[in-house]
Symmetry: D2
Subunit: 340 residues, 4 copies
């Protein structure tokens, strides 16, 4: 079914020309679906190293488009580009796109850390001169994003954890435990023993107890008061496709009352379209397929600890949805466009 | 298929006469299955308030027995009884059975707490004169169980949490977070909005953030050094039928090295048949259908915190299997009989 | 978040006034979500017998609306109404709404059958004078729907089965087996032993082997050539929330070649927005959340039988999506509006 | 935990010496678990091409053994051998083991078909001189199995389908449709796009519509009366780990009444330990982890067709359990030993 030009509200010449580098994985495919649903955007090119020439629809039957995958280097001449490549392979493509004048949202980890952090967790950085990128968590860094040429789209775990913790910063964070549970799509589309149905179904597996690469992304943005808060982060693989549930345990210098805690969150996120306070512990069903983060702050009176639950769809607010939100900000478009 | 007497190794007169009060739920049914597989036990009676007269096989097609459900008061004349009733309804039945000379393993919460704790979390106790029961966690209280007339079978969460924490007691526990994930069978067989397939599948829900009734069962047995450790316990409902994964975060006064930590666990559980140290974070698949608890202790070097993962099958080590283990101990039978 | 009037393209006075009777179940809630996303529709009232006065958002956190549930009889003054009540309870409400001038899409079984069929399968009909309704399967009965005051929205199984079989009618259907697998949402939101997570997960259960109420809905619309085709219909409950996979086995008088078979389907559904021929056996993932039916016809050369696979999202094309499609047709709106 | 010799009932010298070739997949690992639980069997060797030297426990934490994987050619000197290799790779190993005097249960497809059938569906046969093997479906071919040196363990789908159909043979089978749904373990342990959790979860996929390799295994054993019954077989991949549900639709020359049909099944399977007639459509939960096949025959009065549902655990009765049952028969051991 071809889109009939006349049915669109935006004339072709006014549409934003967009490309996706790495469109065969979960995040790239979802970005394509989101972009194809907009009439103010022209999805010009979607690349895939292994599928060049193949129609998108053959791989992604949900998409209604005549586009075929191109090679990465054929994504050019666009105003906005999303790069969905693995870390280290992403940075050189990002540099090329920036050189050609595109604004870029990079979904890899290549621009989320300082050079020192990157080298500790990932190894040598291919393009250190571009570091650091603007960290694309709009609810925390909206202004910087608006003016950026290059936005580093946050990891899925850090998105949930940082949104859960941000309102506590000024209370003096002392100690934080992030116990996070993720659906399998967070591990990517490549088949492996760990993503085999029989390894995941009816099970729930903690992993990376020695240290997960999202640790520095969270730790470096916690901001205590005077002192650096301690952080323990343990991710778990849960038997579900999409979604992150982050249960965050925090000790602060100035423990608030339950009512003050709630008010603090309400004030911090007043007016935010994509962060909602929940009346009860939120469920993934509340956010699946949406760009929403639902947060439930509570006070554990027995221990004095703050317990915050945050849930997101890891492919939306945790990846492609947030990437689109960032693109909207970068191009001064309504922030929620294409995400409602 | 009738069991042919001649095929059993134990003559009928030597068999232990056993009854189950409340046999239509998950734990009672599993106990029946475990007991029917033993040839040194005679399963004499299984009761159900709502199914009197109905053959067990009609409700539980896996069971090969000619028994039919009887009324609760018809479970009598047995040497050992398992009581699988809701709290408060269990205690009076337990008293009756004790009066009649049976030894009892009670799977409710009625005898796990002190009177004060019980009244805080459950309300008035029907038979306070029987408090406290012997807490039936064999790896911690084996000797007391061996001589007991009444054993309080532990809750599923406390079983996993306490086995994970026991080796840390002498290090001076300061602060504990138990983030636990449970399968749905832990919530029982009664249909409800929360156990509907569509509410559970593809979701993962923290609950009881204001306080779960298993909290005092864990807290009262933590034992710090001089001071009472703080405890936060947050359970989650995961989209799986059976199993508990407890991720336990502990701060101690004397933090050990990683090697010392491991050795401490190895020593504590040396010779235990049902507690195994895992080489990697354990999976529920490793323990499903078994009475095993697998534990993986680790040190989070960045925060100095100890992170312990413990997994059990909530219906086995977390309920019916452990109940059978307790019965074996109470009657001086080999502890693992019927559980291998 | 209140919808700002000024952001809508359609002035309030031009919007279609719509109500939903029975909005707390799966189909009513999804209809509310679909309708709220449209700016040419005013969702005026959503009723629920048990939730009167309660905000929709409290029950359905995904919805962004200030509406609260009203009583069924308070749904009035609307131009279009969706009735999502159980059979027999639906018909009197439908009559009232028709009397008051509304056009109605009824999602129950009350108007899908002849009176004789209804009495055989459901019992006495509360409003036989309204029978038969127009059967709301647009791809088969589009013209009748366009002029109808009352449309009987088809059952989920019949939607998939009839779309799979329609292109075979003129070949002379002789014998049909419909082996259908459904997600649990098809059984509704009410908790029961059969919808408990532990009863559904890891299982797959055939049911209604003695006859399912959707049988006459399919059988009466098969249309053989001269003779009445035999039909066997066996539904299965599968461990998934949403979706129907219908595997249809058909013997016809004039067996086509594989190429002719394919061409027949292509021609029959050319131009249809919501029926797509698949290149490979379709997956539920291809249609989840959409109003699409994907069909894969094939010829089993060894037996000469035709095997057709049809998949739909049972809550969309099998219920709420199709209901909206019907409403669009009834009001001469673009058929796909709100469904893309 | 080492097994203490003194605790076994059978002296070492009387134990059957058994080996497994290919022990790292699902069926080999389950065979190891079943064999290790027996005290009349000595599991002497378990091989794996890729894991030589590695302890079984490291790969299969459920197993309590000190054994390490050996190379395939090191499985020798055994009385009984299970070969769990892919087709074509299995036959040469089988020949070697037979030459060395072992009796063999082969779990591949190498000895289930005639040479002509094999060449049509699999290609050239490596050892045609050994064809045909005895087909190891004990309920149909018990006597031949008892005397066999080489037993071809049936495929999982054919086991369910043939047990469902066997009682109908003498009624004159005319036409058969087997619509079968299988758990993912049936596809093996190797990761692939099709077995990725996100491809399987929440979906249900028909496959091999052009012809599945289990077709000839079923078709050649249907036996009509005078004429060859037509057969259509369509397998589906369901979102569950273990289990097969076969819904079988049969037309016969002499349709029985419902009561006659039931009686026919009861008589056919009277005395069978592992085939049970169900009172209601059976569930996988009834057979999970067991060697049982549960069958529910019914008559579809409207069409005159017979509908039979058969469920098995594909890894037990559909593979490893049946293999053990075959070994018991071959060595004149009680047929159910190790399977209760």
């Amino acid at each position: 079914m071809k889109v009939v030009e006349g049915m669109r509200a935006t004339p072709a010449s006014d549409r934003l020309r967009v490309g996706i580098v790495g469109g065969s994985g979960y995040t790239g495919a979802l970005l394509a679906e989101l972009l194809l649903a907009r009439d103010d955007v022209e999805l010009c090119a979607v690349s895939s190293a292994s599928l060049v020439g193949r129609p998108l629809r053959a791989e992604l039957p949900r998409l209604r488009t005549e586009l075929a995958f191109c090679a990465h280097e054929q994504v050019r001449g666009v105003e906005a580009a999303f790069v969905c490549l693995p870390h280290a392979r992403s940075a050189p493509v990002v540099r090329r796109l920036l050189d050609e004048g595109a604004r870029v949202v990079d979904l890899s980890a290549d621009f989320r850390l300082t050079r020192a952090e990157y080298e500790e967790w990932y190894g040598e950085h291919p393009c250190p001169e571009l570091l650091p990128g603007v960290y694309g968590l709009p609810e925390l860094y909206r202004e910087a994003i608006a003016g950026a040429e290059l936005v580093a789209n946050p990891g899925c775990y850090p998105t949930a954890a940082l949104l859960a913790l941000a309102p506590l910063r000024t209370l003096g964070l002392v100690d934080v435990v992030v116990d996070a549970k993720s659906g399998v799509s967070g591990a990517g589309k490549a088949p492996s023993a760990a993503t085999h149905f029989c390894a995941v179904d009816s099970d729930l597996v903690p992993y990376a107890l020695g240290g997960h690469r999202h640790y520095p992304e969270i730790a470096s943005r916690l901001e205590g008061r005077g002192r650096v808060p301690t952080l323990t982060f343990v991710p778990h693989l849960a038997p579900l496709q999409r979604g992150i549930v982050a249960t965050v345990y925090a000790q602060v210098e100035d423990p608030p009352s339950a009512a003050e805690l709630r008010r603090r969150y309400e004030e911090r996120y007043a007016g935010e379209r994509f962060v909602t306070l929940a009346e009860r512990p939120p469920q993934l069903a509340d956010v699946r397929g949406t760009n929403d983060c639902r947060i439930y702050p509570s006070l554990d009176a027995r221990s004095g600890r703050i317990v915050v639950v945050a849930v997101i769809d890891n492919l939306m607010k945790g990846a492609s949805g947030q990437a689109l939100q960032n693109m909207n900000l970068m191009f001064s478009l309504p922030e929620a466009r294409g995400l409602e």
